[in-house]
């Protein structure tokens, strides 16, 4: 168990380094290859020589990438010093650097935005799990019935609709025409009721998409599991149908669902870009979209790292959960 954990964590570390390296490459190497001076991308409208020089110094563009990478990770674990314009600024750990655009420290931005996205992802996940599992199980058990058809038609529609289009339609109908819910985001700390009202539509939009996928997967897995020998055995033993389904079939069905859930929640931490944009939710997705447009590398790195970490951690938790759900799986 311990060696397993260590091995996993080591793999995680390697992966995070690679991801950061990839981001570095995108923003420093690709412009170089295609003939753009990266400094001009960050200097904004002011192409003055001194300003360019200042940018080079600040971004350490003349240093090799690996050194920059090392500095970056050093900052996260022990903090780092920024030298520039005759001053030294110490940035304590965990230091993700300062925004190229407004000099704001990145770490507080991340911690400020993370909960917003987390609530969005978790709330939606809860909703889509319930809906997806329910629809999927009912469809599988009543295969071929009207419920199965209805459920699967809905699910197919769900996976075929772009989430922002669903969002826009929901907004127009429920927020503007009917005025049932709030159409804008209110911070949790400000007014919980308003926050909830503002989050309903984003949750539903996301849950519609993911719930549809989960329903399809649940149904497929369930059908397969029901055909397995051990289910037949259980039935033959005279167990109640409820027990057969609830205890045996569901367990096996949950395994792939859990895997997906891990990946999805993790991915949503950085991938709710479309939903956050559609509903103007000030989460990580929106921050990173803005950062990409402004080429604010430290912020992009920060969000990317958080997202990747979230995916990895979610996967780890899922792996550990397997052992609980499916006794056949032993970690090692």
């Amino acid at each position: 168990m311990l060696t397993y954990l260590i091995r996993r964590l080591l793999a995680v570390a390697v992966m995070l380094v690679v991801i950061v390296l990839a981001v570095f490459c995108i923003f420093f190497l690709i412009p170089k290859w295609t003939g753009t001076d990266p400094a001009t991308m960050y200097v904004g409208k002011q192409a003055d020589k001194e300003a360019l020089e200042g940018v080079r110094e600040k971004l350490q563009l003349d240093e090799p990438i690996l050194l920059q990478l090392f500095e970056f990770f050093k900052g996260i674990f022990v903090g780092r010093d920024y030298v520039g314009g005759g001053t030294v600024t110490h940035c304590p750990a965990p230091c993700f650097g300062y925004s190229f655009r407004n000099e704001q420290a990145i770490w507080p931005v991340l911690t400020d935005r993370l909960p917003v996205t987390l609530y969005l992802a978790l709330g939606a996940a809860l909703l889509w799990l319930v809906i997806g599992l329910a629809v999927g199980v009912v469809s599988a058990l009543k295969r071929g019935s009207i419920w199965d058809r209805l459920g699967m038609t809905g699910a197919l529609a769900g996976v075929s609709l772009p989430v922002y289009f669903t969002g826009l339609i929901l907004l127009t109908v429920f927020a503007y025409q009917l005025g049932l819910v709030s159409n804008s985001f209110t911070p949790f700390g400000e007014n919980v009721g308003k926050w909830f009202s503002g989050m309903i539509l984003p949750w539903i939009s996301l849950a519609f998409l993911f719930g549809a996928m989960y329903a399809r997967i649940t149904r497929a897995t369930m059908l397969e599991v029901m055909g397995e020998d051990y289910i037949r055995t259980a039935r033959a033993k005279g167990l109640k149908e409820q027990t057969v389904i609830g205890k045996h079939a569901m367990r096996s069905t949950m395994t792939p669902i859990l895997t997906l859930l891990g990946i999805d929640i993790g991915a949503l931490m950085g991938g709710a870009i479309l939903t956050e944009t559609t509903f103007s939710i000030p989460g990580l997705g929106q921050a990173v979209l803005k950062a990409i447009n402004e080429r604010d590398l430290p912020l992009i790195l920060g969000v990317t790292l958080i997202t990747a970490t979230a995916v990895v951690i979610a996967n780890l938790i899922v792996d550990l959960l397997y052992g609980v759900i499916d006794p056949r799986v032993r970690l090692g």
């Binding site: 997967i217 991938g271 992009i300």
Partner: protein, 332 residues
């Protein structure tokens, strides 16, 4: 997030073991393709989906001819149809008329029907080509990993794991945003199309790679491969003559299910402003433009949204049908 490739896991279970059945069926003297076709023929819904897909492809190919017929070019302006004060089309339903079947765009008065037709070209082009890119990379690397095993397998598998955990949308947006305006002799929209195809394809290959690897892994140890090997068949022979034919089924299923996902990704990128460049028409870009007018000209938002929906739905229906047809267990 755009719909990630979750469909895969459904498919995974479905196509996990196609080879033996293929072999069984051979005894009956019918090829796998033949059986699949017979099954597909019975699946009305899938056939409708397939027909719509075919129609869409034709529409995309012959868009110039069709617009010539209606007499409306996608970039032709009709400012006389626009209310100058509010920038929206005069007349009800976004200016729908006999001349402009789906109305005209706000501000410029361009014909929406013509733009939808041309938009189909972008969607289908990116959807297909990026899927092909993914299939090529995925098949090659998946086969290598599965067949040779050892460190090569370990390396390729780790890379696939890592790519699956990458915050993809974030990376795609970043990559596109740093691409120069001209590349390899292409400019503007051409570059964007190329980059989109390559990048979407690149992030799609691990899904194919995993399946192919698994297939090859299980096939490798089968008797008939052993037999071929003991008869002195070369690696190349075994790979191309014995393994590849058995991979066709799962790859076909994956590709059909990957195309709608890729279409959604293209629309999302255009929606976020990093897709094709104006004046090139794209459904996602139209939606993103339409957001400004969702109250004053809702038709402009609904039309491209529905276009995306129908396209993706048709591909999904057809893809489901193909999967069921190729699924020998016939659990569905």
């Amino acid at each position: 997030m755009t719909a990630p490739l979750h469909e895969e896991s459904t498919a995974k279970s479905a196509v996990a073991e196609p080879a033996p059945s293929g072999a069984e069926k051979k005894i009956e003297g019918r090829s796998l393709g033949r059986i699949a076709w017979d099954r597909l023929k019975r699946d009305k819904v899938a056939l409708i989906g397939g027909a719509v897909v075919l129609l869409l492809v034709l529409v995309a190919i012959f868009a110039p001819a069709i617009t010539a017929l209606t007499g409306q070019m996608p970039n032709q302006r009709h400012e006389d149809l626009i209310d100058p004060l509010f920038s929206t089309p005069k007349g009800a339903l976004g200016g729908i008329s006999g001349e402009h079947l789906l109305g005209v765009e706000p501000v410029s008065g361009r014909d929406i029907f013509a733009r939808i037709l041309y938009g189909a070209r972008v969607s289908i082009l990116v959807g297909f080509l990026s899927a092909i890119v993914a299939v090529i990379i995925g098949t090659i690397l998946g086969t290598l990993a599965g067949y040779f095993g050892g460190w090569l397998d370990a390396l390729i598998s780790r890379v696939m794991d890592m790519l699956l955990a990458f915050p993809q949308l974030l990376f795609i947006i970043s990559l596109i945003s740093v691409m120069p305006n001209s590349l390899l002799g292409l400019t503007g929209t051409g570059v964007r199309l190329l980059v989109m195809i390559l990048v979407i394809g690149f992030f799609g290959w691990p899904y194919i790679g995993r399946i192919v690897r698994g297939q090859v892994l299980s096939l490798r140890e089968r008797e008939y491969i052993e037999a071929a090997r003991s008869l002195g068949a070369g690696r190349r022979y075994i790979l191309s003559k014995e393994l590849l034919p058995n991979l066709v089924a799962p790859i076909t299923v994956y590709m059909t299910l990957m195309i709608p996902t890729n279409i959604l990704t293209e629309a999302a990128l255009s929606f976020l402003g990093v897709g094709v460049k104006p004046p090139t028409a794209s459904w996602g870009a139209m939606l993103s433009d339409a957001v400004q007018y969702y109250e004053s000209d809702p038709m402009y938002m609904i039309i491209p949204g529905v276009a995306i929906f129908i396209t993706v739905l048709a591909f999904n229906l057809f893809g489901d049908g193909v999967r069921d047809a190729l699924d020998p267990k016939g659990t569905r």
